[in-house]
Symmetry: C2
Subunit: 127 residues, 2 copies
DNA sequence: TTTGAAAACGATAATCGTTATCGTTTTTGT
DNA sequence: ACAAAAACGATAACGATTATCGTTTTCAAA
């Protein structure tokens, strides 16, 4: 895909620190390279990158986050610190066909997110 | 739980038509009984009912919906018509422990939503 | 290398769902 | 009946995101 310089810089931000930043966080980071960039440009390019499939949006209650890893994986949201972690382990679940037949629908996606307490927060609480 | 008249009417709206309405939809419906009710009152009471555990919020990308069925169940969102359906079939999934050990976390909730095409929309498309 | 159209941009206004404020009204317990 | 607490309506404020618009940059064809 052909990208503008600023769009490239936004990709670079997503690639270099894979912590699922919000638009604001991307804005702050890309300003290190382009101090004059507008927040509108960040939103515009994030939207475009989503449309073309380069990145994905992982909605978390009124505050979108962005992930450059478009492979099939799950996200874990820490309820304590708000951090988001990738989970790549396979999750097989049974009952999907039964769910489909229950309401007579075709399930295209089963979207799973985890919530709980992350390693760091558990370590802190443990002491 | 002790409720005001208007809070009761809001519950009644949720009970009588279990289609996971948005706050706006609740507002429209409760106005049939209380034409003078304010949208603020609807939001206020929906929030309160969530807090006390009488109803649940099922967030769907920037637009909350409300469900008076607080039992453990899943929701199916039709990508075509936007309708939301309840799914009560059990879904067992394996790999949760592996996911926990992968990132060293404690998973408290696994939140699942389905997306796809509902019965009605498939029937329409089929002709 | 000029040129002109398309794409991208910055600034900022607008939008949308939701929440907060505040002065008034209703409910409740005594 | 009465005071305190809860609920209310109107509306302003909020925060995240999107739209607008006039300007600037890019890039390919001439």
């Amino acid at each position: 895909m052909k990208h503008s310089h600023k769009r490239d810089a936004i990709c670079e931000v997503l690639k270099s620190k894979r912590d699922h930043p919000t638009a604001d966080m991307v804005y702050e980071r890309v300003r290190e390279k382009y101090p004059e960039i507008s927040l509108a440009t960040v939103y515009r390019n994030l939207a475009q990158l989503c449309t073309e499939g380069t990145i994905i949006k992982i909605g978390a209650a009124g505050r979108e986050r962005y992930d450059i890893d478009t492979s099939d994986h799950t996200h874990f949201f820490c309820d304590e610190c708000g951090e988001v972690y990738d989970v790549f382990s396979d999750l097989n679940f049974t009952g999907l066909a039964k769910a489909e037949s229950e309401i007579g629908c075709k399930i295209d996606f089963a979207h799973i997110t985890f919530r709980g307490h992350c390693k760091n927060c558990m370590a802190k609480a443990g002491n």
